[in-house]
Protein backbone atom coordinates (compact mmCIF):
# COMPACT_ATOMS: atom_id res chain seq x y z
CA UNK A 1 0.00 0.00 0.00
CA UNK A 2 1.23 3.47 -0.84
CA UNK A 3 1.09 5.21 2.54
CA UNK A 4 2.19 8.51 1.05
CA UNK A 5 -0.65 8.45 -1.47
CA UNK A 6 -3.11 7.57 1.26
CA UNK A 7 -1.97 10.45 3.43
CA UNK A 8 -1.86 12.91 0.55
CA UNK A 9 -5.54 12.18 -0.04
CA UNK A 10 -6.63 12.94 3.54
CA UNK A 11 -6.95 16.75 3.24
CA UNK A 12 -8.74 16.37 -0.11
CA UNK A 13 -11.24 13.94 1.37
CA UNK A 14 -11.87 16.25 4.32
CA UNK A 15 -12.47 18.97 1.72
CA UNK A 16 -15.09 16.87 -0.06
CA UNK A 17 -16.98 16.20 3.17
CA UNK A 18 -16.88 19.85 4.17
CA UNK A 19 -18.23 20.85 0.76
CA UNK A 20 -21.04 18.34 1.22
CA UNK A 21 -22.06 20.19 4.35
CA UNK A 22 -20.18 18.48 7.19
CA UNK A 23 -18.54 20.82 9.66
CA UNK A 24 -14.76 20.57 9.86
CA UNK A 25 -14.60 18.75 13.20
CA UNK A 26 -17.08 16.05 12.21
CA UNK A 27 -15.55 15.67 8.75
CA UNK A 28 -12.08 15.33 10.20
CA UNK A 29 -13.25 12.68 12.68
CA UNK A 30 -14.99 10.72 9.94
CA UNK A 31 -11.94 10.84 7.66
CA UNK A 32 -9.68 9.73 10.49
CA UNK A 33 -11.97 6.73 11.00
CA UNK A 34 -11.79 5.99 7.29
CA UNK A 35 -8.01 6.31 7.39
CA UNK A 36 -7.67 3.86 10.25
CA UNK A 37 -9.94 1.47 8.35
CA UNK A 38 -7.89 1.91 5.17
CA UNK A 39 -4.71 1.03 7.06
CA UNK A 40 -6.46 -2.21 8.06
CA UNK A 41 -8.08 -3.15 4.77
CA UNK A 42 -5.93 -1.78 1.97
CA UNK A 43 -2.85 -3.97 2.39
CA UNK A 44 -4.90 -7.09 1.56
CA UNK A 45 -7.50 -5.46 -0.65
CA UNK A 46 -6.30 -2.26 -2.31
CA UNK A 47 -9.13 -0.20 -3.83
CA UNK A 48 -9.15 0.71 -7.51
CA UNK A 49 -10.10 4.29 -6.70
CA UNK A 50 -8.46 5.14 -3.35
CA UNK A 51 -9.95 8.61 -3.04
CA UNK A 52 -13.44 7.41 -3.95
CA UNK A 53 -13.09 4.65 -1.36
CA UNK A 54 -12.04 7.09 1.34
CA UNK A 55 -14.84 9.52 0.50
CA UNK A 56 -17.47 6.75 0.59
CA UNK A 57 -16.27 5.26 3.87
CA UNK A 58 -15.76 8.65 5.51
CA UNK A 59 -19.16 9.88 4.37
CA UNK A 60 -20.87 6.81 5.83
CA UNK A 61 -18.96 7.28 9.06
CA UNK A 62 -20.11 10.87 9.15
CA UNK A 63 -23.73 9.84 8.67
CA UNK A 64 -23.49 6.95 11.13
CA UNK A 65 -22.04 9.21 13.75
CA UNK A 66 -25.50 10.71 13.75
CA UNK A 67 -23.94 13.88 14.94
CA UNK A 68 -26.45 16.15 13.38
CA UNK A 69 -29.70 15.36 11.74
CA UNK A 70 -29.57 18.93 10.62
CA UNK A 71 -26.39 18.24 8.73
CA UNK A 72 -28.03 15.23 7.14
CA UNK A 73 -30.93 17.36 6.04
CA UNK A 74 -28.52 19.98 4.77
CA UNK A 75 -26.71 17.27 2.88
CA UNK A 76 -29.90 16.40 1.03
CA UNK A 77 -30.02 19.96 -0.21
CA UNK A 78 -26.33 20.39 -0.73
CA UNK A 79 -25.32 17.12 -2.30
CA UNK A 80 -27.31 18.00 -5.38
CA UNK A 81 -25.40 21.19 -5.98
CA UNK A 82 -22.04 19.83 -4.94
CA UNK A 83 -19.46 21.23 -7.34
CA UNK A 84 -17.57 18.68 -9.38
CA UNK A 85 -14.22 18.35 -7.59
CA UNK A 86 -11.49 19.47 -9.94
CA UNK A 87 -7.76 19.92 -9.41
CA UNK A 88 -8.12 23.58 -8.45
CA UNK A 89 -10.60 22.98 -5.67
CA UNK A 90 -8.49 20.13 -4.26
CA UNK A 91 -5.55 22.49 -3.96
CA UNK A 92 -7.78 25.10 -2.34
CA UNK A 93 -9.18 22.55 0.10
CA UNK A 94 -5.74 21.39 1.14
CA UNK A 95 -4.43 24.92 1.44
CA UNK A 96 -7.39 26.00 3.55
CA UNK A 97 -6.70 23.11 5.91
CA UNK A 98 -3.08 24.23 6.33
CA UNK A 99 -4.30 27.68 7.37
CA UNK A 100 -7.03 26.36 9.63
CA UNK A 101 -4.75 23.90 11.44
CA UNK A 102 -2.12 26.61 12.02
CA UNK A 103 -4.69 29.19 13.08
CA UNK A 104 -3.20 31.82 15.42
CA UNK A 105 -5.84 31.05 18.07
CA UNK A 106 -4.23 27.61 18.58
CA UNK A 107 -1.31 26.97 20.93
CA UNK A 108 1.81 25.66 19.17
CA UNK A 109 1.33 22.08 20.39
CA UNK A 110 -2.35 22.08 19.33
CA UNK A 111 -1.52 23.48 15.90
CA UNK A 112 1.18 20.86 15.43
CA UNK A 113 -1.12 18.00 16.44
CA UNK A 114 -4.01 19.17 14.28
CA UNK A 115 -1.76 19.76 11.26
CA UNK A 116 -0.22 16.31 11.52
CA UNK A 117 -3.65 14.70 11.69
CA UNK A 118 -5.82 16.70 9.28
CA UNK A 119 -3.16 17.74 6.75
CA UNK A 120 -0.55 15.04 7.33
CA UNK A 121 -3.01 12.18 7.61
CA UNK A 122 -1.29 10.63 10.62
CA UNK A 123 -3.37 8.74 13.13
CA UNK A 124 -3.81 10.01 16.67
CA UNK A 125 -1.86 6.99 17.87
CA UNK A 126 1.09 7.80 15.60
CA UNK A 127 1.16 11.42 16.71
CA UNK A 128 0.91 10.41 20.37
CA UNK A 129 3.83 8.03 19.98
CA UNK A 130 5.92 10.59 18.15
CA UNK A 131 5.52 13.06 21.02
CA UNK A 132 5.65 10.42 23.76
CA UNK A 133 2.29 11.16 25.33
CA UNK A 134 -0.66 8.80 25.94
CA UNK A 135 -3.04 8.40 23.02
CA UNK A 136 -5.95 9.70 25.15
CA UNK A 137 -4.00 12.90 25.84
CA UNK A 138 -3.29 13.45 22.16
CA UNK A 139 -6.93 12.72 21.27
CA UNK A 140 -8.03 15.39 23.75
CA UNK A 141 -5.48 17.86 22.45
CA UNK A 142 -6.80 17.36 18.92
CA UNK A 143 -10.46 17.60 19.81
CA UNK A 144 -9.85 20.76 21.84
CA UNK A 145 -7.95 22.24 18.91
CA UNK A 146 -10.90 21.46 16.66
CA UNK A 147 -13.28 23.15 19.08
CA UNK A 148 -11.00 26.20 19.12
CA UNK A 149 -11.16 26.62 15.35
CA UNK A 150 -14.81 25.55 15.06
CA UNK A 151 -15.98 29.08 14.34
CA UNK A 152 -13.24 29.92 11.85
CA UNK A 153 -14.52 30.33 8.32
CA UNK A 154 -12.73 28.22 5.78
CA UNK A 155 -13.22 30.59 2.89
CA UNK A 156 -10.42 33.10 3.28
CA UNK A 157 -6.68 32.62 3.19
CA UNK A 158 -4.71 33.05 6.39
CA UNK A 159 -1.17 34.17 7.06
CA UNK A 160 1.32 31.75 5.55
CA UNK A 161 3.88 32.73 8.20
CA UNK A 162 1.84 30.96 10.89
CA UNK A 163 1.81 27.80 8.77
CA UNK A 164 5.58 28.00 8.30
CA UNK A 165 6.13 28.32 12.04
CA UNK A 166 4.12 25.14 12.67
CA UNK A 167 5.98 23.19 9.98
CA UNK A 168 9.32 24.43 11.31
CA UNK A 169 8.31 23.22 14.78
CA UNK A 170 7.47 19.76 13.46
CA UNK A 171 10.81 19.64 11.64
CA UNK A 172 12.96 21.01 14.42
CA UNK A 173 11.49 18.89 17.21
CA UNK A 174 10.86 15.82 15.10
CA UNK A 175 12.53 13.39 17.44
CA UNK A 176 12.99 10.18 15.60
CA UNK A 177 10.37 7.78 16.86
CA UNK A 178 8.07 5.36 15.08
CA UNK A 179 6.98 8.14 12.79
CA UNK A 180 9.63 10.13 10.97
CA UNK A 181 8.34 13.62 11.75
CA UNK A 182 11.33 15.29 10.15
CA UNK A 183 10.57 13.61 6.84
CA UNK A 184 6.88 14.36 7.37
CA UNK A 185 7.66 18.07 7.85
CA UNK A 186 9.63 18.03 4.60
CA UNK A 187 6.74 16.35 2.79
CA UNK A 188 4.16 18.84 4.10
CA UNK A 189 6.38 21.82 3.30
CA UNK A 190 7.04 20.48 -0.18
CA UNK A 191 3.29 20.11 -0.70
CA UNK A 192 2.74 23.66 0.56
CA UNK A 193 5.49 25.05 -1.70
CA UNK A 194 3.72 23.50 -4.69
CA UNK A 195 0.56 25.43 -3.80
CA UNK A 196 1.91 28.78 -2.55
CA UNK A 197 4.28 30.94 -4.55
CA UNK A 198 6.14 32.65 -1.68
CA UNK A 199 9.92 32.95 -1.34
CA UNK A 200 9.78 32.19 2.38
CA UNK A 201 7.91 28.91 1.79
CA UNK A 202 10.65 27.93 -0.63
CA UNK A 203 13.20 29.19 1.91
CA UNK A 204 11.82 26.91 4.61
CA UNK A 205 11.77 23.94 2.24
CA UNK A 206 15.40 24.64 1.28
CA UNK A 207 16.37 24.99 4.94
CA UNK A 208 14.77 21.64 5.75
CA UNK A 209 16.37 19.84 2.82
CA UNK A 210 19.83 21.21 3.64
CA UNK A 211 19.62 20.15 7.29
CA UNK A 212 17.91 16.87 6.51
CA UNK A 213 20.82 16.12 4.16
CA UNK A 214 23.17 15.95 7.16
CA UNK A 215 21.04 13.53 9.10
CA UNK A 216 23.13 10.37 8.62
CA UNK A 217 26.28 12.20 9.73
CA UNK A 218 24.77 14.00 12.74
CA UNK A 219 24.83 11.14 15.20
CA UNK A 220 27.02 8.20 16.09
CA UNK A 221 25.43 4.74 15.89
CA UNK A 222 24.78 4.87 19.65
CA UNK A 223 23.02 8.24 19.43
CA UNK A 224 25.91 10.54 20.33
CA UNK A 225 26.05 14.00 18.79
CA UNK A 226 28.62 14.71 16.07
CA UNK A 227 29.35 18.46 15.77
CA UNK A 228 29.17 19.97 12.29
CA UNK A 229 32.96 20.39 12.03
CA UNK A 230 33.55 16.69 12.77
CA UNK A 231 30.85 15.21 10.55
CA UNK A 232 31.81 12.82 7.79
CA UNK A 233 30.71 14.98 4.87
CA UNK A 234 30.78 12.06 2.46
CA UNK A 235 27.66 10.86 4.30
CA UNK A 236 25.73 14.02 3.53
CA UNK A 237 22.90 13.50 1.06
CA UNK A 238 24.14 15.32 -2.06
CA UNK A 239 20.77 14.94 -3.81
CA UNK A 240 18.96 16.77 -1.01
CA UNK A 241 21.69 19.43 -0.92
CA UNK A 242 21.47 20.03 -4.68
CA UNK A 243 17.70 20.33 -4.48
CA UNK A 244 17.88 22.63 -1.46
CA UNK A 245 20.43 24.91 -3.12
CA UNK A 246 18.42 25.07 -6.34
CA UNK A 247 15.22 25.97 -4.49
CA UNK A 248 17.07 28.53 -2.38
CA UNK A 249 18.69 30.23 -5.38
CA UNK A 250 15.33 30.60 -7.11
CA UNK A 251 13.84 32.06 -3.91
CA UNK A 252 16.70 34.51 -3.33
CA UNK A 253 16.41 35.71 -6.94
CA UNK A 254 12.95 37.03 -6.06
CA UNK A 255 14.64 39.58 -3.80
CA UNK A 256 12.19 39.23 -0.90
CA UNK A 257 14.47 38.03 1.83
CA UNK A 258 13.08 36.46 4.98
CA UNK A 259 14.51 34.59 7.93
CA UNK A 260 14.06 31.10 6.50
CA UNK A 261 15.88 32.03 3.29
CA UNK A 262 18.70 33.57 5.33
CA UNK A 263 18.95 30.48 7.54
CA UNK A 264 18.94 28.29 4.47
CA UNK A 265 21.71 30.40 2.95
CA UNK A 266 23.87 29.67 5.99
CA UNK A 267 23.13 25.95 5.76
CA UNK A 268 23.96 26.09 2.03
CA UNK A 269 27.37 27.65 2.74
CA UNK A 270 28.13 24.81 5.16
CA UNK A 271 26.97 22.31 2.55
CA UNK A 272 29.25 23.95 0.01
CA UNK A 273 32.43 23.33 2.01
CA UNK A 274 34.05 19.97 1.13
CA UNK A 275 35.86 20.04 4.51
CA UNK A 276 35.06 22.12 7.58
CA UNK A 277 38.28 24.15 7.22
CA UNK A 278 37.13 25.49 3.85
CA UNK A 279 33.89 26.94 5.22
CA UNK A 280 33.28 30.50 4.04
CA UNK A 281 32.78 31.97 7.51
CA UNK A 282 33.04 35.56 6.32
CA UNK A 283 29.96 35.11 4.15
CA UNK A 284 28.23 33.21 6.96
CA UNK A 285 28.78 36.18 9.31
CA UNK A 286 27.20 38.43 6.68
CA UNK A 287 24.12 36.19 6.56
CA UNK A 288 23.92 36.26 10.36
CA UNK A 289 23.99 40.04 10.16
CA UNK A 290 20.98 39.82 7.83
CA UNK A 291 19.28 37.43 10.27
CA UNK A 292 19.91 39.76 13.21
CA UNK A 293 18.35 42.55 11.17
CA UNK A 294 15.35 40.36 10.27
CA UNK A 295 14.68 38.71 13.63
CA UNK A 296 16.68 40.50 16.33
CA UNK A 297 16.76 37.11 18.04
CA UNK A 298 19.30 36.49 20.84
CA UNK A 299 19.74 32.91 19.57
CA UNK A 300 20.83 34.32 16.21
CA UNK A 301 23.27 36.67 17.96
CA UNK A 302 24.73 33.68 19.81
CA UNK A 303 25.23 31.72 16.59
CA UNK A 304 26.69 34.84 15.00
CA UNK A 305 29.31 35.00 17.76
CA UNK A 306 30.39 31.45 16.84
CA UNK A 307 30.70 32.47 13.18
CA UNK A 308 32.65 35.62 14.10
CA UNK A 309 34.99 33.41 16.14
CA UNK A 310 35.68 31.33 13.04
CA UNK A 311 35.94 34.27 10.64
CA UNK A 312 37.97 36.72 12.76
CA UNK A 313 39.44 34.59 15.53
CA UNK A 314 38.28 33.40 18.93
CA UNK A 315 39.00 36.76 20.64
CA UNK A 316 36.67 38.52 18.24
CA UNK A 317 34.11 35.77 18.86
CA UNK A 318 34.31 36.31 22.62
CA UNK A 319 33.91 40.04 22.08
CA UNK A 320 30.76 39.41 20.01
CA UNK A 321 29.54 37.00 22.68
CA UNK A 322 29.88 39.67 25.38
CA UNK A 323 26.91 41.47 23.81
CA UNK A 324 24.65 38.37 23.96
CA UNK A 325 22.28 37.76 26.88
CA UNK A 326 23.91 35.02 29.02
CA UNK A 327 20.47 33.50 29.67
CA UNK A 328 20.20 32.32 26.04
CA UNK A 329 20.32 28.51 25.80
CA UNK A 330 23.77 27.18 24.79
CA UNK A 331 25.48 30.42 25.84
CA UNK A 332 27.79 28.53 28.21
CA UNK A 333 28.60 25.95 25.51
CA UNK A 334 29.61 28.68 23.06
CA UNK A 335 31.67 30.39 25.78
CA UNK A 336 33.51 27.12 26.41
CA UNK A 337 34.13 26.53 22.72
CA UNK A 338 35.51 30.02 22.11
CA UNK A 339 37.77 29.85 25.17
CA UNK A 340 39.21 26.58 23.94
CA UNK A 341 39.81 28.10 20.50
CA UNK A 342 41.46 31.07 22.22
CA UNK A 343 43.96 28.68 23.83
CA UNK A 344 42.55 28.58 27.36
CA UNK A 345 41.61 24.93 28.05
CA UNK A 346 41.24 25.43 31.81
CA UNK A 347 38.53 28.08 31.44
CA UNK A 348 37.02 26.10 28.58
CA UNK A 349 36.75 22.94 30.70
CA UNK A 350 35.00 24.87 33.46
CA UNK A 351 32.50 26.33 30.97
CA UNK A 352 31.89 22.96 29.29
CA UNK A 353 30.98 21.49 32.67
CA UNK A 354 28.69 24.44 33.36
CA UNK A 355 27.17 24.10 29.88
CA UNK A 356 26.46 20.41 30.54
CA UNK A 357 24.62 21.33 33.73
CA UNK A 358 22.47 23.80 31.78
CA UNK A 359 21.88 21.62 28.70
CA UNK A 360 18.26 21.02 27.73
CA UNK A 361 18.99 18.08 25.45
CA UNK A 362 20.28 14.69 26.50
CA UNK A 363 22.70 14.04 23.62
CA UNK A 364 23.98 17.61 23.90
CA UNK A 365 24.63 17.21 27.61
CA UNK A 366 26.57 14.00 27.05
CA UNK A 367 28.60 15.72 24.35
CA UNK A 368 29.41 18.67 26.61
CA UNK A 369 30.39 16.47 29.56
CA UNK A 370 32.72 14.61 27.23
CA UNK A 371 34.29 17.89 26.10
CA UNK A 372 34.90 18.91 29.72
CA UNK A 373 36.37 15.48 30.49
CA UNK A 374 38.62 15.63 27.42
CA UNK A 375 40.09 18.95 28.54
CA UNK A 376 40.34 17.92 32.20
CA UNK A 377 42.25 14.78 31.20
CA UNK A 378 45.00 16.80 29.51
CA UNK A 379 48.40 16.22 31.10
CA UNK A 380 49.29 19.10 33.42
CA UNK A 381 51.62 21.77 31.97
Amino acid sequence: MDGDLLRRLIPEVIGVLVRRGADFAAAEDAVQDALVRALDVWPADPPRDPKGWLVTVAWHRFLDAGRADAARRRREDLVVEEPVPGPTSEVDDTLRLYFLCAHPSLSPSSAVALTLRAVGGLTTRQIARAYLVPEATMAQRISRAKRTVAGVRLDRPGDVATVLRVLYLVFNEGYSGDVDLVAEAVRLTRQLAAMVDEPEVAGLLALMLLHHARRAARTTPDGGLVPLAEQDRSRWDTGAIAEGVRILQAALARDRLGEFQAQAAIAALHADAPVAAETDWVQIVEWYDELVRLTDSPVVRLNRAVAVGEADGARAGLAALAAVDPAVPRHAAVTAYLHERAGDPVTAARWYAEAARRAAHLAERDHLVRQAARLNARPAG
Partner: protein, 135 residues
Protein backbone atom coordinates in the same frame (compact mmCIF):
# COMPACT_ATOMS: atom_id res chain seq x y z
CA UNK B 1 6.08 21.54 23.77
CA UNK B 2 8.03 20.39 26.74
CA UNK B 3 7.64 17.74 29.36
CA UNK B 4 7.99 18.50 33.03
CA UNK B 5 8.07 16.33 36.10
CA UNK B 6 6.11 17.63 39.09
CA UNK B 7 7.67 16.00 42.12
CA UNK B 8 5.88 15.76 45.43
CA UNK B 9 8.04 15.07 48.45
CA UNK B 10 7.31 13.36 51.76
CA UNK B 11 10.54 14.92 52.99
CA UNK B 12 13.16 17.17 51.48
CA UNK B 13 11.03 20.06 50.31
CA UNK B 14 10.71 23.26 52.35
CA UNK B 15 7.78 23.08 54.80
CA UNK B 16 4.32 23.82 53.43
CA UNK B 17 2.31 26.78 54.70
CA UNK B 18 -0.53 24.56 55.95
CA UNK B 19 1.87 21.92 57.24
CA UNK B 20 -0.31 19.45 59.17
CA UNK B 21 0.40 15.70 58.73
CA UNK B 22 -2.36 13.95 56.82
CA UNK B 23 -3.18 11.56 59.68
CA UNK B 24 -4.36 14.55 61.66
CA UNK B 25 -6.87 15.72 59.07
CA UNK B 26 -10.54 14.82 59.28
CA UNK B 27 -11.73 12.02 56.98
CA UNK B 28 -13.76 14.59 55.04
CA UNK B 29 -10.63 16.68 54.50
CA UNK B 30 -8.80 13.65 53.16
CA UNK B 31 -11.68 12.88 50.81
CA UNK B 32 -11.68 16.47 49.58
CA UNK B 33 -7.92 16.31 49.02
CA UNK B 34 -8.07 13.06 47.05
CA UNK B 35 -10.93 14.39 44.97
CA UNK B 36 -8.96 17.54 44.18
CA UNK B 37 -5.97 15.50 43.00
CA UNK B 38 -8.15 13.25 40.83
CA UNK B 39 -10.02 16.20 39.37
CA UNK B 40 -6.73 17.91 38.61
CA UNK B 41 -5.42 14.89 36.68
CA UNK B 42 -8.73 14.50 34.85
CA UNK B 43 -8.69 18.16 33.88
CA UNK B 44 -5.18 17.81 32.44
CA UNK B 45 -6.30 14.79 30.46
CA UNK B 46 -9.04 17.00 29.08
CA UNK B 47 -6.63 19.73 28.05
CA UNK B 48 -4.29 17.24 26.40
CA UNK B 49 -1.46 17.97 28.83
CA UNK B 50 -1.41 14.83 30.98
CA UNK B 51 1.29 12.22 30.50
CA UNK B 52 1.56 10.21 33.68
CA UNK B 53 1.00 10.33 37.41
CA UNK B 54 2.01 7.87 40.10
CA UNK B 55 2.24 7.71 43.86
CA UNK B 56 5.05 5.88 45.64
CA UNK B 57 5.11 3.99 48.91
CA UNK B 58 7.29 5.83 51.42
CA UNK B 59 9.49 2.85 52.26
CA UNK B 60 12.04 1.80 49.65
CA UNK B 61 15.10 -0.39 49.40
CA UNK B 62 18.57 0.63 48.29
CA UNK B 63 20.18 -1.86 45.92
CA UNK B 64 23.68 -2.03 44.46
CA UNK B 65 25.86 -4.34 42.38
CA UNK B 66 28.24 -6.41 44.51
CA UNK B 67 30.60 -7.89 41.93
CA UNK B 68 30.43 -10.76 39.44
CA UNK B 69 28.53 -13.88 40.51
CA UNK B 70 27.24 -12.27 43.68
CA UNK B 71 23.67 -11.25 44.38
CA UNK B 72 23.01 -7.52 44.64
CA UNK B 73 23.36 -5.99 48.07
CA UNK B 74 20.26 -4.44 49.56
CA UNK B 75 20.02 -1.97 52.37
CA UNK B 76 17.61 0.45 53.98
CA UNK B 77 15.15 1.93 54.27
CA UNK B 78 17.09 4.72 55.89
CA UNK B 79 15.08 6.85 58.25
CA UNK B 80 17.62 9.63 57.92
CA UNK B 81 17.44 9.97 54.10
CA UNK B 82 16.81 13.64 53.57
CA UNK B 83 14.94 13.50 50.31
CA UNK B 84 11.90 11.26 50.02
CA UNK B 85 9.73 11.38 46.92
CA UNK B 86 6.02 10.77 47.44
CA UNK B 87 4.91 10.73 43.84
CA UNK B 88 4.98 12.52 40.57
CA UNK B 89 3.01 13.83 37.70
CA UNK B 90 4.40 14.26 34.19
CA UNK B 91 2.89 17.01 32.05
CA UNK B 92 3.43 18.03 28.43
CA UNK B 93 2.88 21.76 28.04
CA UNK B 94 3.59 24.63 25.68
CA UNK B 95 5.77 26.65 28.02
CA UNK B 96 7.60 26.86 31.32
CA UNK B 97 5.06 29.46 32.44
CA UNK B 98 2.23 26.98 31.89
CA UNK B 99 4.13 24.34 33.88
CA UNK B 100 4.54 26.78 36.78
CA UNK B 101 0.85 27.70 36.60
CA UNK B 102 -0.18 24.03 36.81
CA UNK B 103 2.26 23.26 39.63
CA UNK B 104 0.78 26.22 41.52
CA UNK B 105 -2.72 24.81 41.09
CA UNK B 106 -1.66 21.38 42.26
CA UNK B 107 0.00 22.92 45.31
CA UNK B 108 -3.33 24.51 46.22
CA UNK B 109 -4.86 21.09 46.99
CA UNK B 110 -6.90 21.38 50.20
CA UNK B 111 -5.50 20.02 53.46
CA UNK B 112 -6.24 20.56 57.13
CA UNK B 113 -9.22 22.84 57.73
CA UNK B 114 -10.08 22.52 54.04
CA UNK B 115 -7.50 25.20 53.33
CA UNK B 116 -4.87 24.95 50.59
CA UNK B 117 -1.71 23.14 51.70
CA UNK B 118 0.59 25.53 49.80
CA UNK B 119 2.93 22.59 49.49
CA UNK B 120 6.27 23.05 47.65
CA UNK B 121 6.34 20.98 44.49
CA UNK B 122 9.54 20.48 42.55
CA UNK B 123 9.34 21.24 38.83
CA UNK B 124 11.97 19.55 36.66
CA UNK B 125 12.21 19.79 32.87
CA UNK B 126 12.87 16.61 30.90
CA UNK B 127 16.02 16.49 28.82
CA UNK B 128 14.99 16.01 25.21
CA UNK B 129 16.48 15.09 21.89
CA UNK B 130 18.41 17.97 20.30
CA UNK B 131 16.72 20.13 17.67
CA UNK B 132 17.22 19.35 13.98
CA UNK B 133 18.42 22.82 13.05
CA UNK B 134 21.77 23.49 14.65
CA UNK B 135 23.28 26.48 12.88
Amino acid sequence: MAKYLLLKHYRGAPPAVNDVPMDQWTPEEITAHVRYMNDFAARLEGTGEFVDGQALAPEGTFVRYDGPGRPPVTDGPFAETKDLVAGWMVIDVDSYDRAVELAGELSAAPGAGGKPIHEWLELRPFLTAPPTVTD
